[in-house]
Symmetry: C2
Amino acid sequence: MGRITIKDVAKEAGVSTATVSYVMNEKKNIPEATREQVLAAAEKLGYVSNYSARSMRLNRSNLIGVIIPQTEPGSQMVFENPFYSEILSSIEYCARQSGYHVIVSGTNADENYLKLAQQRNLDGIIIIGMYKEQSYTDLRNTRIPIVLVDSYMDDHYFHAIRINDRHAGYVATRHLIENGHRKIAFLSGAIKDGGVMKLRHAGYCDALDEFGIPRSPDYVLTESVGFDSGRRLARKMADELDVTAAFCTADIIAIGVIKELNEHQRLIPEQYSIVGVDNLSIARYSIPGLTTVGQNIYHKGEKAVEMILNAVADPTAGKQEFILPITLVERESVRKINLPT
Amino acid sequence: MGRITIKDVAKEAGVSTATVSYVMNEKKNIPEATREQVLAAAEKLGYVSNYSARSMRLNRSNLIGVIIPQTEPGSQMVFENPFYSEILSSIEYCARQSGYHVIVSGTNADENYLKLAQQRNLDGIIIIGMYKEQSYTDLRNTRIPIVLVDSYMDDHYFHAIRINDRHAGYVATRHLIENGHRKIAFLSGAIKDGGVMKLRHAGYCDALDEFGIPRSPDYVLTESVGFDSGRRLARKMADELDVTAAFCTADIIAIGVIKELNEHQRLIPEQYSIVGVDNLSIARYSIPGLTTVGQNIYHKGEKAVEMILNAVADPTAGKQEFILPITLVERESVRKINLPT
DNA sequence: TATGCTTATATAAACGTTTAAACGAAGATG
DNA sequence: CATCTTCGTTTAAACGTTTATATAAGCATA
């Protein structure tokens, strides 16, 4: 009545547990006859292997941990950015294709991922969008592969997968400039050293410089990354700034901006042109459709899994960094305006 | 250099492994002196317990499996409904508060969840939005607690947590009627026996009947649940139907409907009033804000975890069913029209 | 002092795998 | 025929816990 073990299969097939194990793992050259006998017995009894036992013996778990920032809007603990859910989905899918499972863990304070990793014998950790320096240091002292997705630190203790954020900022801003805009706000999450936002801001500056447009510090408005801070940023922009366009450093901010402006009868793109970054699903849902610097989210998750698996296969290999290509996805949130002559 | 085990701690503290284990699990009355000695040793060595070993011995894993439908829009394997990601987040959060971790697994075909459950020794499974009858039967023959969230089957083999879908359909439709609408389309995912959509449709009929409005089968349009099918449904509605309002049985459908209508210069709510169900985050982001029959998503996840934990604590207790309360969340997608006199 | 009772701790088996090492049989080689 | 290989399989230890059972020590009681 209890669990069917390898032992039961062995008895049923009239062989030893070792033989069963060898068959299951396709290890030694087991002659076809015994192989089939074992397989038949396993099938008959409905045997399914116990990963806990396996994990203990092999010292690996076929388990990947995914860490995602969670926030608490109205006491509903929710993943900080819908973007992250989309990455998670692709990570899970790709991991499963390779025989791995995914443990997902949210994070609000500085939780101890390392403890989770050790407790569960994780084969790797994928950390999404994390910045807390403090937590990082703990993680350096481990041999378990860690892939940082959009979590920028300029040390090379970890694998990383990211986009060229500076270029993303540049592309978005240039697109606005090429459509005739000269007064372009920069609406962003907090600009921290070594962080994504800092790089995107640098790209924004690059574009302005290239076209000889003077930078105005007043045009740079920062808050956190989220819908509601997008709304606040928009209000501030509309009240205090004389601009025709805004580069939002995350789609979720852009969505908030659009919503807020719309509520105050500011038309998009007629009065304000908006560009975002991420190419979330909701960028497509938005009215008007959000023009954004897109990345292939599926590919991002896929690559993250691939990096973990590579690191597992060859632990001695050095830290890898992968830059995901970006493309401008044009929708309807940008208007061509008359160039001042 | 390898893993720090209970053995190492025992040696360091000068006690046996049993004592260490008792201390860690607060099992027997261990005198304060030894307790502190052990704790100090564990702290010093950086001991963290091995859940694989624990799981094997205790035959439970402190692991909850969450199954979520995945679809493949443009080869990006993505969770079918953003709604699900929000439930997942709350499940993960609540589970973690109780010392559990979450394994998430997408599902497209009829994968074998039971195998996952046995392999990983899961303490429970939460299945979200599943209908495939075939998969269900496998799951009946197990003692591991299963909670169905929005996955309707009218057998009582499983725990379930849901909303009163019939009432939800009624509330949404009545809201439209009370705002003067008489010609109300029903835009929905497929209506299957024992499924959510069937119940919401029944509620829709209830409301029509109550107000003496004749039902028209033509007004009932079905597709799958998703943004793009929302667009198709809207096109069909605009082309073929003479209605002033639509009840969409899922927010993600409603979002697609709004987008499509907007692109064809149909104003919302001026020309069409729209009501959805779910109260997704994006219902708030939408322009106009989507009026919807809301449920507390956080509470939904919380309850699901609670049911698993209860079932683990007392496996003999019967199957539970929990109906989550709903409320109408009024935003801007419904217009009051003149009642025909 | 012998006996029993309590309390604190240790011993060792068990959970279900994997795999190095051992083993026996059969065939090849001298 | 003795010896060596090769092949197929088994034995048994190990992974890190938990916990029933045993043990030892201390103390009170008769």
